[in-house]
Subunit: 153 residues, 2 copies
């Protein structure tokens, strides 16, 4: 099941968790998926309890993220002038076990993460370009330029 | 740093862990790495405390695994008739924080995993082919055909 969401180009796809007494197998992304474009890099980002990692934007890179450990809030802000959803903010609660999904995030969107768990959560990211600092931008999580207030609880 | 190991074709590469108070960033694999061939699939396998997942063999698929959460023992048995390391068994203790690495495992090798942690460990696997049961074989962890005794402790 693939569903489009309230920000143009952002796609949320539910992923399989295959239960096993020894530990589950968790799908993420296959090369024959319509969400796969090109392999740039796969890496992980931990989010410690109560931590916030925000805001970031990539001018070229497309992300495919999943949360195989813990649970996070992902917030995306659409400030693309020509977007049909310009000005929108979308919030996603993502992770185990009840919303294990892939979120496809095209470039030129501001995004950030917040822990929603008492353990360290793990975000996996499979991108279409390898890390390149020249195409990444950032702003502090309390920036006035983005109409969103992170819950500090 | 890339080091070859005592089984022909198996390569162990130390990976960067970039410390951050909010949660570390953990490298895994880039498309411009000499260990990257082709993108087949990325998925995860949990290993619960004291669990063993063994034995498996892929006839075509190459694996690139990392352990971003917890710690495991990986055992590889080389039964390839034409291999220069035919008959060898290799054991690797892999995971956070002291041996966070990528292990490149070519096809036609028997392998298995065992938890070495009190928490659930997470194995990430980035393969050159998407999952295809027709190229996978398995044997029970106590099979007499592999000269290795899993420690049940």
């Amino acid at each position: 099941m693939i569903e489009t969401n309230k920000i143009e180009g952002v796609i949320v796809q539910q992923l399989k968790q295959i239960a096993d007494d020894r530990g589950a197998v968790l799908h993420m992304l296959r090369g024959d998926s319509p969400l796969f474009e090109k392999f740039g890099e796969v890496y992980f980002s931990e989010i410690n309890p109560s931590a916030i990692k925000a805001w970031k934007l990539h001018t070229k890179l497309t992300q495919n993220i999943s949360v195989p450990v813990g649970k996070i809030r992902l917030v995306i802000y659409d400030n693309r002038p020509s977007s049909g959803t310009h000005g929108n903010i979308a919030e996603y609660k993502v992770g185990r076990h009840d919303n294990y999904c892939l979120i496809h995030i095209p470039p030129v969107l501001w995004y950030g993460f917040q822990s929603l768990d008492t353990q360290t959560s793990l975000i996996a990211n499979c991108t279409n370009l390898a890390h390149d600092p020249s195409e990444a931008q950032s702003m502090p999580s309390n920036s006035d330029e983005i109409p969103y207030q992170w819950d500090s609880a």
